[in-house]
């Protein structure tokens, strides 16, 4: 087994999550790879149906091979394959190793249990604390996530708290056992703008304080832009582009990333600026296109794109930049703009 210093904390290699539905196979995650090191934040962005949430849950082991689901590929957390573990062993990971924050804080909390119970339950089960010790630590955790009057809050029920406060409780629960990896799936989507900023600030400071690794899953490109070190853009179950957040957002290489960024209204634009849109709809995931999945909606697509699935390859457009496109929008002239980057995609 590796020690933490040997390499990245989390290695995801060629991960596939396939749901077998009556309408056919849905390849929700179709060959995604990435790594996250301790203290690093990775953003997973994409629109609904891009597979980002399924990816997050598969990484965590919440979605695993079962009667209607097939997971293949590897998820190595500190050298251990999450999907090779028995369900009981996997459950041991949730809390001490991987913490998770979901979108809707109301449904993440049990409505008939007090706030304190959510925290002490986790502490007692995983860290085998005594009742008294667990309560003390729970107060401490609520303090850390910025909840005023923590002692009083422990005896309150989730419905007595505001949405932002509930999300802070969820974060406190996720952090109770000091996980090394935090997966935050749309943690601020249900919250107001001013609260959203508070929660994102809180997550960022906790990550740097504890040198935790974090995966921030979001459809909000603005939220990801300022809070992540690297970003991975998903479309129809595949990674279309990956790289350091700032360079990806400043000069996107993939036409989809470019179009997505252009479709967001900017505060600096004049009122009534016509927004760029992406024509068409995302593909039906039971029958995805044979070649590039974005091909049918892409202005740069040609026959190569229809026939050949582009592989995610390194591009010389900056350090650690990767793109899966036959005709990327490279800002460096050295590459022939129309030459396909690879001879054969690794698509099926």
């Amino acid at each position: 087994m590796m020690t933490p210093s040997d390499g990245p904390l989390l290695v995801v290699d060629d991960l596939h999550t396939v749901f077998h539905t009556p309408r056919g196979e849905v390849r929700a995650v179709d060959g995604v790879s990435f790594q996250v090191a301790a203290g690093e934040t990775l953003g997973l962005v994409g629109e609904s149906g891009s597979g980002k949430s399924v990816l997050g849950r598969t990484v965590m082991g919440l979605i695993a091979t079962g009667p209607a689901t097939t997971v293949s590929g590897q998820v190595l957390l500190d050298g251990r394959d999450v999907h090779a573990l028995k369900p009981g062993q996997r459950r041991q990971l949730w809390g001490p190793e991987i913490g998770m924050v979901f979108q809707d804080p109301m449904t993440s909390l049990n409505p008939v249990k007090r706030v304190g119970t959510h925290l002490t339950e986790t502490l007692r089960r995983h860290l085998h604390c005594s009742r008294k010790e667990a309560t003390e630590r729970a107060v401490d955790l609520l303090n850390q996530v910025g909840i005023p009057e923590p002692v009083r809050r422990l005896t309150q029920y989730p419905h007595e708290l505001s949405g932002g406060m509930r999300q802070r409780v969820v974060i406190a629960t996720a952090l109770a056992c000091d996980p090394r990896l935090l997966i935050a799936d749309e943690p601020t989507t249900a919250l107001d703008v001013t609260v959203q900023k508070q929660i994102l600030d809180l997550l960022a400071s906790l990550v740097s304080e504890r040198t935790m690794a974090m995966i921030l899953i979001s459809h909000d490109l603005g939220a990801v832009a300022g809070r992540t070190d690297r970003v991975q853009v998903m479309y129809a179950g595949r990674t279309v582009e990956a790289g350091p957040t700032r360079t990806v957002f400043d000069s996107p290489d993939h036409p989809y990333t470019d179009a997505l960024l252009a479709s967001i209204p900017q505060l600096s634009d004049q009122p009534h600026t016509v927004l760029r849109t992406i024509e068409g709809n995302p593909p039906d995931m039971t029958r995805p296109p044979r070649g590039c999945r974005f091909g049918p909606r892409c202005g740069r697509a040609d026959d190569t794109c229809t026939d050949l699935m582009p592989a995610l390859v390194a591009v010389p457009d900056g350090p650690a930049r990767q793109v899966a496109c036959h005709h990327p929008l490279l800002s460096i002239e050295s590459l022939e703009p129309n030459a396909p980057l690879t001879e054969a995609g690794h698509g099926r």
Partner: protein, 325 residues
């Protein structure tokens, strides 16, 4: 209850919609929820007014009260020259057909059992077809909102995507060629690429039909994009009214500035994140005295608790309700 003032109104000009001292209160067991407390606004023909605020600020209650769904607790709503409040039910329905509402969740806004071709013309079924030909009208209406009539005409809402459903809702609301369109968070449940399509569509419809629009939303950039004038609300009161072009750089009210500072951006990466203690919006059951924002305001003094600020013109077209700007 006193409102935030009327300095921002333009009484000399023809107005598509005028709202005076609108009050919306809901009686609950523990008292009264003060959702909207004395809202004044006017809308010039062809103008888009954006109402910006967070949940609980009363922006949706205001939109619904303007539609008389349900009628407000107090105040007046004039659509063109017609006073809607206090009207009898039947004439009010007729008068109100000049004003239409587009809601946040397009899927639940549509009857799941009806087909698109019937949904979009429900208003005409009620108010009469005039000399329109049904089939051609449905097709041209669907095309005008960017839907392929052939593909969607015989579908039901569950067979369409969220963006397509919102297009159907917009088609439905413009079928009667209204004067005023009230959009309550019409794009907040949609993906960004679809959001851009719907915003462009609303803009096009407004130009083509000469609509006046009230656009209610919480997203600062979206409101700026579609509006001519922006009104910022907090806990049922107006904080600031300003031309949307000035929103980013010239906003003065501390709450508007807080909203602007909260918009996530790439610049967040350049500063150290400071964990802050959670701040709660006060309960609308018992709003703070004086300025309602004072409990969260960095500029607040004793005067803010004692005296309610009224909207004052700070720059041409910009009105701010704050003692300290």
């Amino acid at each position: 209850m006193a409102g935030s003032g009327t300095a921002h109104l333009r009484p000399g000009q023809p107005r598509a919609l005028a709202v005076d001292d609108l009050v919306v209160e809901f009686p609950v067991r523990r008292g009264t929820v003060h959702a909207v407390s004395g809202l004044n606004l006017d809308l010039l023909p062809g103008e888009t007014l954006g109402i910006l605020g967070e949940s609980g600020c009363g922006k949706s209650s205001a939109g619904r009260a303007i539609m008389q769904l349900p009628p407000p607790t107090g105040g007046s709503v004039r659509l063109g020259e017609v006073e809607l409040t206090g009207m009898k039910a039947q004439p009010m329905r007729k008068a109100r057909s000049r004003m239409q509402l587009v809601l946040q969740d397009p899927v639940s806004a549509l009857n799941p059992r009806r087909k698109v071709k019937d949904l979009v013309v429900e208003g005409l079924e009620i108010w009469g077809w005039g000399d329109r030909d049904r089939a051609t009208f449905v097709d041209s209406l669907l095309s005008s909102v960017g839907l392929d009539p052939e593909a969607v005409r015989d579908r039901r809402p569950h067979e369409l995507s969220g963006g397509q459903c919102q297009r159907v809702c917009i088609a439905r609301s413009i079928a009667l060629e209204p004067d005023v369109l009230i959009c309550d968070e019409p794009v907040s449940s949609l993906d960004v690429s679809v959001q851009a399509q719907i915003l462009n569509l609303l803009e096009k419809a407004r130009e083509r039909l000469g609509l006046s629009m009230v656009f209610i939303a919480h997203d600062v950039a979206v409101v700026k994009n579609i509006s001519d004038r922006v009104m910022v609300m907090y806990l049922g009161k107006t904080c600031e009214v300003l031309p949307s072009a000035d929103l980013e750089n010239a906003a003065l009210h501390p709450y508007t500035r807080l909203l602007l500072a909260s918009v996530p951006s790439e610049a967040d990466a350049d500063r150290e994140a400071e964990p802050t203690t959670a701040v709660e919006m006060p309960s609308p059951l018992d709003p703070p005295s004086g300025c309602r924002f004072r409990t969260r305001c960095v500029l607040a003094t004793d005067r803010c608790a004692a005296e309610e600020p009224l909207l004052r013109e700070m720059n041409p077209g910009q009105f701010v309700a704050c003692h300290h700007v």
